[in-house]
């Protein structure tokens, strides 16, 4: 327990030390999730840093990160455990060759831990060096209700039963972070078990800091203009507004192109980095001049 930060401020600083700029609200949610041993449920538009914070959390706590990417039909075989059938069959043949006839014994031999393939949820119950891992359950909204129901049980008991072997129990419960893009509502029962936080698009100042942290060597002026441009772009009526991830990609692209400030040609050529729908690109191109003018205004800084 002692490895967890002792206060909200400490949490915020520790995240920053690992190049993650967090709001106070997010720091409170993270801190409480750690202290109270609750899962942290993060929702927000794609590309606002939901998955990123989990990686940082694992670094911060210097423990390993176990990731479970959700998809429809995700079942126990791929989320919890599976048997290594090929090796089990070989073992049976070997036992047969050695003249083993005792059925009970065969069963016991074949269903040993050495034939068990541990999938993320089972792995998450194991501490290494006395430290529980960080478990990321990514994009839970993609999984189906069946999996969610199973997860509910897992998150309250921290144990998994393999009928042939027995029950695996966590010495220390893992730090669990669940993310969702809201393509489906997560069931209320699960939500209520979690600390909930909605990550919003960052403010100008915060996004600028993120760009400066994450894209080293980016010229001051370019960073300011690029961020101001993206901030203006988000106010437009777009199908998919650019996230922070896109801003970072864009800033890196502009840097790679050797730019020191925004110009309308380069903006038009690189809009595809920011916007992923053709309709949005067309719309943004029509307004690029206005947006650029706003981004270049010194008052925006």
């Amino acid at each position: 327990m002692n490895m967890f930060p002792a206060s909200v401020e400490e949490t915020q600083k520790a995240l920053e030390a690992h190049h993650y700029i967090a709001d106070k609200g997010l720091s409170v949610a993270v801190f409480l999730a750690l202290r109270l041993g609750r899962p942290l449920l993060l929702e927000g538009e794609p590309g606002v840093g939901k998955t990123e914070i989990v990686k940082v959390l694992a670094q911060m706590l210097s423990t390993r990160l176990i990731r479970l990417q959700c998809y429809e039909g995700l079942d126990l075989n791929s989320a919890v455990y599976e048997w290594d059938y090929a090796r089990q069959m070989m073992q049976i043949r070997l036992l047969e060759a050695s003249g083993e006839r005792d059925q009970e014994k065969v069963r016991h031999e074949v269903f040993g831990t050495e034939f068990l393939l541990k999938r993320p949820l089972l792995q998450a119950l194991e501490s290494a060096n006395g430290k529980a891992p960080v478990l990321l359950i990514d994009e839970l909204d993609r999984a189906d209700e069946e999996f969610e129901a199973f997860l509910l049980e897992f998150l309250s008991d921290w144990q998994i039963t393999v009928p042939e072997i027995g029950t695996f129990r966590a010495e220390k419960p893992p730090v669990v972070v669940i993310t969702s893009n809201r393509t489906r509502e997560i069931h209320d029962a699960l939500k209520r078990r979690c600390m909930y936080y909605w990550i919003d698009y960052p403010s100008f100042a915060k996004e600028l800091r993120i760009v400066q942290e994450k894209v080293p060597g980016v010229p001051e002026k370019l960073a300011q203009q690029a961020v101001a441009f993206v901030q203006e772009l988000r106010k437009q009526d777009l199908y998919k507004a650019p996230g922070v991830a896109e801003t970072l990609d864009w800033a890196s692209s502009l840097l790679a192109l050797g730019q020191t400030e925004l110009s309308s040609d380069v903006v038009e050529e690189t809009l595809g980095v920011l916007l992923k729908y053709q309709d949005d690109v067309v719309k943004a191109k029509n307004q690029a001049r206005d947006l650029l003018a706003k981004a270049q205004m010194p008052t925006a800084l």
Partner: protein
């Protein structure tokens, strides 16, 4: 870090109560979490206090603005100056203000007040004879008396549903699609590891989500009401099987989601509520703009998993046909099937020539009538046929 005092705890409980009064559902478990959280943070730090409450008590982004308001009022009424108003400005307001009832409107009032507007209709008790049912099935909804409408509504609940399904990616035992090694192996152990029979598994089917967008402006209102009753009957039957897959929106000059209202109230009460929110009831329909809102804010959240979209409208659109065509194309691309229901299709000699319909037509998968009961039965059949016709997994 100290345990919160009894005095603070009683305030916490009071605060949770006022949240509940405002319609934010908070369980006792969540309250306990919040109380625990107070032991961990400094309660003299207003921002931390606020966020601790937020992350332990609120589970939906839509509730955040209302939460902030209750929070401000509650702690201010206690005369606590250390919870200053400016921290609330950091809470982003959700972009969809129209989803919430304004203060004093029906949405937040207790149930009885909301339903007082709609007087109970006379209930037809006796069962209908066959010929009466037959007449009722063919009669247009706009020519029915209140009594007949009520009888027709009753018939809706007797429909035999055959909801369209899609094959999910979850597997179930049985079937002939994929080798089920886990079960095969388990079986083989009974025969000294001899694989006498290979077990197989198949993809499990599930009902498709249905999303209805109902035009409730002027002339359409009666048909829309019937469709909502129809969907209500459908979702009732579905929830008996443990599935809840119907999303309902109404539109006129703007789009309103009534799924949640429909869960709690009757169709008529829900429509009365919509009517109160939308002041310009007969102000014409802006289908394109409403579809735009839908595509923008809702499509990603409700159209996953191969949804079927039902739009009910006569296509009298006050907006730009270009916008309507554009949004229809996007809508069609993001759902499994787009079915347009038009009550006027049942009129002899009717041709869909309004600007709106002409613009929207190329993007409809089906264009069906919805003017009487038998057309609703046709819709049920059409929905049931969807799967058998195409084996494509969406």
């Amino acid at each position: 870090m100290t345990a919160p005092t009894a005095q603070l705890l009683s305030q916490v409980v009071g605060f949770v109560r006022s949240l509940r009064r405002e319609g934010i559902v908070v369980t006792p478990g969540q309250t306990a979490t919040f109380a625990q959280a107070l032991g961990e943070i400094s309660i003299f730090d207003p921002v931390a206090f606020y966020h601790a409450a937020l992350c332990s008590l609120v589970t939906r982004r839509e509730d955040q603005a209302r939460f902030a308001e209750v929070f401000r009022q509650f702690w201010q009424n206690l005369g606590l100056e250390r919870f200053p108003g400016e921290l609330l400005q950091q809470t982003p307001l959700p972009p969809r203000k129209e989803q919430k009832a304004r203060p004093g409107e029906v949405g937040r009032e207790p149930r009885s007040a909301g339903e007082s507007g709609a007087p109970p209709l006379p209930v037809v008790d006796r069962a209908l004879t066959f010929s009466e049912t037959e007449v009722l099935r063919q009669k247009r909804f706009d020519q029915m008396s209140e009594k007949e409408l009520e009888a027709a509504r009753k018939l809706l609940y007797e429909f035999v549903w055959n909801p369209p399904e899609r094959r999910t990616r979850r597997m179930k035992p049985g079937g002939k699609e994929e080798l089920d090694l886990r079960r095969s192996f388990r079986r083989s152990l009974k025969h000294q590891g001899e694989f006498l029979k290979l077990e197989e598994r198949a993809r499990k089917p599930k009902p498709r989500p249905i999303v209805a967008l109902a035009d409730v402006s002027g002339s359409m209102e009666r048909y829309a009401r019937m469709l909502l009753h129809f969907l209500h009957a459908f979702s009732l039957q579905q929830s008996r099987q443990g599935v809840r897959q119907v999303e309902t929106f109404t539109f006129g000059t703007r789009l309103t989601r009534i799924t949640r209202t429909l869960k709690k109230r009757s169709v008529d009460a829900a429509l009365a509520e919509v009517g109160q929110q939308v002041k310009d009831w007969s102000g014409g329909t802006r289908i394109g703009a409403c579809l735009h809102t839908f595509n923008h804010t809702w499509a990603k959240r409700v159209l996953g998993r191969g949804a079927i979209v039902l739009v009910i409208s006569d296509g009298w659109d006050q907006g730009e046909p270009e916008l309507l065509a554009f949004e229809m194309e996007r809508l069609q691309k993001s759902c499994h099937r787009l079915i347009w229901l038009n009550p006027l299709v049942g009129t002899p000699g009717y041709q869909p020539l309004t600007r709106g319909l002409v613009a929207a037509m190329p993007f409809m998968d089906d264009f069906l009538p919805i003017h009487n009961l038998s057309s609703l039965e046709m819709l049920v059949e059409a929905l049931g046929r969807l799967e058998r016709r195409s084996g494509i997994v969406h």
